[in-house]
């Protein structure tokens, strides 16, 4: 046990230190990040059904051309909305990798959230109803094992499992 107690913090420290070192280099240049973010909001239109920056078809000229268009648009100083609107105007709404938050597309985003909260509310209500039900069966006390003896077992359980 002592070995475990000694080693556990060390392992945890190694894990955390390693993860931290790894994740430290997170921040890159803002332009690259913006290109990456916008590129992941667009789909390649060559028919591969892949995100623009992840289309890797051998010799796919569509994705290369679209990436250049994205770079040009960013270089012009267009805002994110203008960049994306430009792509929608040219390639149609399917060029966006996720539904917009306008019109019927809003339903796509709203429904999971509604279901999430409705389901959680339902569970809480169900638990309250079940909790308020009166017991119909005798209390589970362990037959001829007296409550004093059971309390003693509980005390022992707590005592023996305290680290």
């Amino acid at each position: 046990m002592k070995i475990v107690r000694k080693m556990l913090p060390r392992w945890a420290a190694i894990l955390l230190f390693g993860s931290a070192l790894l994740l430290m280099g997170a921040s890159g240049d803002p332009t690259g990040q913006r290109f990456d973010r916008l590129g992941h909001n667009l789909m390649c239109t060559c028919g591969c059904n892949q995100v623009l920056l992840e289309c890797n078809h051998v010799g796919c000229t569509t994705s290369e051309q679209m990436r250049q268009e994205l770079k040009l648009s960013m270089a012009r100083g267009d805002s994110d909305d203008v960049v994306l609107a430009g792509f929608v105007a040219k390639y149609g709404p399917t060029v966006l990798s996720a539904p917009t938050t306008t019109g019927f597309n809003r339903v796509a985003w709203i429904m999971p959230v509604v279901i999430f909260f409705a389901a959680l509310t339902a569970v809480v209500l169900v638990i309250r109803v079940w909790k308020n039900r009166k017991p119909t069966d005798p209390p589970a006390s362990g037959g001829d094992t007296g409550s004093g003896e059971l309390d003693e077992f509980r005390r022992r359980a707590r005592e023996e499992t305290t680290i």
Binding site: L16, L22, M24, T94, S97, A98, E160
Partner: protein
């Protein structure tokens, strides 16, 4: 056709025997079911034989094989196309049916009912194979000298085992469905059927999990886009039954321990099966666009009819016999194991809904507005990551809660240390430079790691507590104590190992926020940098083999000014299918993957264009999968028996407490 006839007989004779209580007739139905396996095995073997014999008079072999195709891929051709994969599905179903029927003595009457249900499912798939997608259809016209070859994307070792695993998972979900429907039809008394079903579900779940991970591994190694999960409809289709199956494996404990959730569990099994079939429909119908659409055809309507019929049958028997499933639902506290399972189930089903909703929304949008939209990774990530984090939190808290009721004092005592460790881990990560306020993805990564640490700490405390108690009793060391603990309650501690696998995988997922990539043309001696690595192009060359021609680059990899390895990203051109494919060069370490793709060459000077990805923590995803595999296998092993004679009531009370002591402290309310 012979298999279909036998299946029809197994179904009709089995049904008649059950109605008339005719046991000898029922036995003939059982044997006919076994004979189905022989017939379908023979058919599958013949198709494989045709592939090895290069018999291009069979249209399927012509379309999916060629002379130069290596042996293992000729074998894999069985499941590489529509017709063959349906035959393979039939064979797996027949194999599951064989095992089920051979083990009929576990409960003759229940198995007889389940056998009729599985025969009905078998009939559907054999009808497909015989009339809609015949794998032995003959080649029309002159027989070509060579075949069209296998899709290059399928010519990888992982593809030899990924589809069988996935199919074993999909088809495996048929068996629990058959038992559940059988139990509902016959108003099965008691909970024995749920014990049988749980084991079968775990087997199906195990295969499905392996299939999903192998598919992910294949996508990572083969597709060359640097990722392992693209939220493609076909990928989503495999996730749906996995999520509902996972929910069932948790909620079934409520039924076993407390006799609760009988209706819920019944419908979870039905939903899992229906979603497995629905996934197959999505894969094959072409109703939604997919990267993985290897086997599209017009058999979609068959699946729609089958789904509708299956749902109608389930609903009919549920309405007719639902009174049998009624149970008294009573909880003593919101803070209890039961509540945690309820929340767990709801979150898993919300995740399943979100995946299904996102997958089908393009179809819905087109139907409502006339315009199709794309629902890709940004949608699924935004919707599912918060749900996954809630699930992680529950994974940490759940094991600390006692059945019936947990006192605040007990919760505080058990939760304090793990919570301190988790919060400290978060503070440390921020102190070392992680900036969760810069981008939401960094925040999610931080939360994932913190919650994973929390889960790890709670599970570790469970093992340590129990191991210590046994070590004291047996006068042994803690590790032996943990070993005995696991063997005494394989299901519980196997489950914890599965949870460890899940958090290891989640840590791997957390690395996604920090993926980097760079693309560059590399001539002789040219350099390219990504993260701490420098790639130097030593050379580039090409080769010609019977099955394909290839081009590749030879890159020396330097880190900290020192050469650490040489990598060979490659691109192949498969002659038979006239298609190209990339062979990714990947250097995987615990910390990160250096992932190189030969994306093409500059036509003017012939220099290769290399795309380099630096993907942190990917190794953890595959490591986590191994833990999940081992944990599930442990959970399938029967518990070690400790007592041979019937114990007295006093001994039972003592054993009860010791059992709780082994597992955890908070015995707050009565014996269960």
């Amino acid at each position: 056709m012979f298999g279909l006839a036998l299946s029809v007989y197994a179904f009709l004779a089995g049904l008649y025997a059950l109605v008339r209580n005719d046991d000898p007739l029922g036995e003939t139905a059982r044997r006919a079911g076994i004979a189905v396996w022989v017939a379908v095995t023979a058919a599958s073997a013949v198709l494989v034989y045709c592939a090895f014999r290069n018999d291009f008079s069979v249209a399927y072999i012509l379309q999916h094989s060629n002379r130069a195709l290596p042996g293992p891929y000729k074998f894999a051709a069985l499941w590489s196309g529509q017709e063959g994969s349906l035959l393979f599905w039939c064979w797996l179903l027949a194999t599951y049916g064989l095992v089920l029927r051979l083990r009929h003595k576990v409960d003759t009457r229940l198995v007889a009912h389940a056998s009729v249900v599985i025969s009905a499912v078998q009939i559907f798939f054999l009808v497909l194979v015989n009339f809609a997608a015949h794998p032995f259809a003959m080649t029309i016209g002159a027989i070509p000298a060579d075949g069209n070859g296998l899709n290059p994307l399928l010519q990888y070792p992982e593809m030899v085992i990924h589809p069988p695993m996935l199919y074993l998972g999909y088809v495996g979900m048929t068996v629990p469905f058959c038992f559940a429907l059988a139990a509902l039809i016959m108003k099965y008394p008691g909970e024995k059927w749920i014990h049988i079903t749980r084991r079968w579900t775990m087997i199906g779940w195990l295969f499905l999990t392996c299939g999903i991970f192998l598919g992910s591994f294949w996508a990572y190694k083969v597709l060359g886009w640097g990722g392992w999960w693209g939220w493609d409809p076909v990928e989503n289709a495999s996730l749906l039954p996995w999520l509902t199956g996972t929910a069932f494996l948790h909620s079934v404990m409520m039924q076993e321990k407390r006799g609760m959730m009988k209706v819920w569990n019944m419908w979870l099994i039905f939903s899992t099966f229906l979603l497995a079939i629905f996934g197959t429909f999505l894969t094959r119908s072409g109703v939604v666009s997919s990267v993985h659409a290897f086997a599209e055809s017009d058999i979609g309507p068959y699946f729609v009819y089958f789904l509708a019929l299956t749902f109608a049958v389930c609903m009919f028997f549920y309405v007719r016999n639902h009174a049998h499933l009624q149970s008294e639902h009573k909880l003593e506290s919101l803070v209890s194991r039961e509540s945690s399972f309820l929340f767990n189930n709801v979150l898993l089903l919300v995740a399943a809904f979100a995946v299904l909703w996102g997958t089908l929304f393009p179809v819905l949008s087109e139907w409502v507005t006339g315009h199709k939209v794309t629902v890709g990774p940004p949608f699924f990530n935004k919707v599912n990551i918060p749900v996954a984090l809630c699930l992680l939190l529950l994974t940490a808290v759940g094991p600390l809660l006692a059945w019936r009721k947990t006192s605040t004092e007990s919760l505080r005592r058990n939760f304090l240390v793990p919570a301190i460790i988790a919060v400290s881990s978060g503070i440390l990560l921020v102190a070392f430079g992680m900036k969760p306020w810069v981008e939401i993805s960094y925040f999610y990564s931080l939360m994932t790691i913190m919650l994973s640490v929390l889960v790890a700490a709670t599970i570790a405390s469970e093992f340590i507590r129990g191991g210590l108690v046994i070590a004291r009793h047996n006068d042994s060391n803690i590790f032996h104590g943990m070993w005995i603990l696991t063997r005494r309650n394989t299901r519980r501690y196997g489950g914890y190992i599965v949870h460890v696998g899940v958090i290891i995988t989640m840590i791997g997922f957390a690395g996604v926020a920090f993926y980097q990539n760079n693309e560059q043309e590399l001539g002789f001696g040219d350099k390219m940098s990504i993260g701490p690595y420098t790639l130097v192009c030593r050379s580039y060359t090409q080769d010609d083999k019977p099955n394909y021609s290839s081009e590749w680059a030879i890159l020396d990899i330097y880190k900290g000014g020192k050469q650490i390895t040489t990598m060979y990203p490659e691109q192949r051109f498969y002659k038979a299918s006239q298609q190209s494919a990339t062979m990714v060069a990947n250097r995987s370490t615990v910390m990160e993957d250096l992932y190189l793709v030969y994306t093409g060459k500059n036509p003017e000077n012939g220099h290769p264009i290399i795309k380099a990805h630096l993907n942190p923590l990917v190794w953890w995803i595959w490591a986590g999968a191994h833990f999940i595999l081992v944990g599930t296998i442990i959970a399938l092993i029967p518990n070690m028996q400790t007592k041979s004679k019937k114990p007295s009531l006093r001994e039972r009370a003592r054993a009860l407490v010791e059992d709780d002591v082994e597992s955890r402290a908070p015995v707050e309310a009565g014996n269960d």
